[in-house]
Amino acid sequence: MQNVFKLNDFIEILKIADTEIDKNKQYLSNLDSVIGDGDHGITISTAFSKINNEISSRNFDSIPDLFKFVGNLFITSIGGTTGPIFGYIFIGMASSLIENKKDEVSLSEFYNMLSAALQKVTSIGKANPGDKTLVDTLNAAVSSLKESVEKNMELSEGIKAMAVEAQKGAESTKDMVATKGRARYLGERSLGYQDAGATSVFIILNAFNIYLQNSQ
């Protein structure tokens, strides 16, 4: 049973993320149309198709190489809020590895990656946990990873726990009042609805889990 992610694992995980996002495209748009402008499912699924297309015709030297490429593609060519915000998640993940040309990532290194992503996104988007954005999912995932690393968990166990907490994080946005993004104009009226971006980040993080479960 594998205890590290290799470059090829990540490439496969991005494919799973693409498939999972695609399955949930309509659902994500529905979520966004209640408290946003209804386009999140389209934007994020278009982005993942594009990314997997581009990846398939390229070779990557290292894991940070891959993540930087994905991040830059998101940032420069997707648009919407999704483009830059998700782009900086991947750029953030790459940044924690960038020093040395990394070709394996342990659970603790993965924790560092996601933690850097959270920092990056917070500094760009100025949303904090509780603001009813994808930061709530990321934050829950990072906390879970931190605990799992401290408990010295296996990779797949840690990732599984992360997915569970990410889901809770996404669901927790239901009880929040939006203060960032388009939903903020709704104020109190945003209560009771789950945030679209928080949900898609969960779906993406869950792709890591699906991959590890399948490869067992």
Binding site: D39, I42, T76, G79, G80, T81, I85, R182, L186
Partner: protein, 333 residues
């Protein structure tokens, strides 16, 4: 189902741009197959290049506002989504002459993120580039947080001023100050009577019950300040004007530009009726209308409703407003 005249939902913006370029083939050019479109004579020497842009779905904004005395290039996103920096950078490069480039767009989080990235990329290329944000919509944040407000239906007016002033040779930093003054004096507020649907999905961005209308609804269905029973045109006009006047505030003897904008399916007949009521009310308030415009300047698909924009004018603004402008979507002879 989406009851709209479209083909492949994923190709809407591409076909929109193709149709626009075909009809205006003597005046505009598309940069490759990107969503950047520029005036055919770009880059123009001796003037600051004006780049506008934002999500599609608000036609004639932004696509149709490039032309002589208006903007020089536009970068378009998907429907209701900010354009990505690569398109914006192509628009910047297309209009970068010898006087620098101005980015002029609406203050939405997605737009700010993407335009800022493009601006950084342009600066890395050595381009002299600045930004002016439009934030005229008063219901989106209180006056103390004016910089958080979104931009809406003063756009074509601010773009017109930018086009005229840059054409007249105003330099980039003066232009930024001038336009920020114009934005500072612009106030808009709208009312919605029915929702719009996103053409790709056919989903409504919100619902408005029978007999209700909402003040301050955003251009993408973002909720407004209050939902009320349907008012008459006169009550609607007076309510909007009261909000606008109190916000700047506008005072007696102010001279203003008045814009009455239709969001989509509201008829010009209704807009003229509202106009009549506004003229009467502003005259009671002794606020002088220097010039009034009605039309669809900034739409939100087939949403029903109108918005009203009041802009306090000074001599400099009047001077550049009076200069001619010729764009497919806005002409001032």
């Amino acid at each position: 189902m989406v009851k709209k005249l479209i083909n492949n939902p994923d190709d809407i913006v591409n076909e929109l741009i193709e149709g626009f370029v075909l009809i205006n083939s003597k005046k505009v050019k598309r940069i490759g197959d990107s969503n950047a479109i520029a005036r055919i004579e770009s880059p123009i020497k001796g003037k600051v290049g004006i780049v506008i842009g934002g999500g599609a779905g608000h036609e004639p904004l932004f696509l149709e506002l490039i032309g002589e005395g208006m903007a020089d290039a536009v970068a378009h996103g998907q429907v209701f989504a900010a354009p990505s920096p690569d398109h914006i950078l192509k628009a910047i490069n297309a209009v970068d002459g010898d006087r620098g480039v101005l980015l002029l767009y609406n203050n939405y989080a997605g737009d700010v993120l993407n335009f800022n990235i493009a601006q950084d990329m342009a600066r890395e290329q050595g381009i002299n580039i600045e930004t002016v944000l439009i934030n005229d919509e008063i219901s989106s944040a209180p006056l103390e947080r004016r910089e958080d407000r979104r931009g809406t239906t003063s756009d074509h007016f601010i773009i017109k001023l930018a086009g005229a002033a840059s054409k007249a040779g105003m330099d980039l930093s003066t232009l930024v100050k001038f336009l920020n003054k114009a934005v500072y004096n612009s106030r808009s507020l709208g009312v919605s009577l029915s929702a719009c649907t996103l053409p790709q999905t056919g989903l409504s961005t919100f619902t408005l019950e029978e007999g209700k209308m909402e003040f301050g609804m955003g251009l993408h269905g973002e909720a407004g300040v209050k939902k009320v029973d349907l008012m008459t045109a006169d009550e609607t006009a007076r309510t909007i004007i009261d909000y606008l006047v109190a916000d700047l505030p506008f005072v007696e003897n102010d001279e203003i530009m008045l814009i009455i904008n239709g969001y989509g399916s509201t008829t010009r007949m209704e807009m003229f009726i509202v106009a009549k009521n506004i003229y009467e009310y502003l005259s009671e308030k002794k606020i002088n209308i220097y010039s009034g415009e009605i039309g669809e300047f900034c739409t939100s698909q087939e949403m029903a409703g109108i918005s009203v924009t009041m802009i306090k004018l000074d001599d400099e603004m009047k001077k550049y407003y009076e200069m001619p402008a010729y764009s497919p979507g806005y002409i001032k002879p």
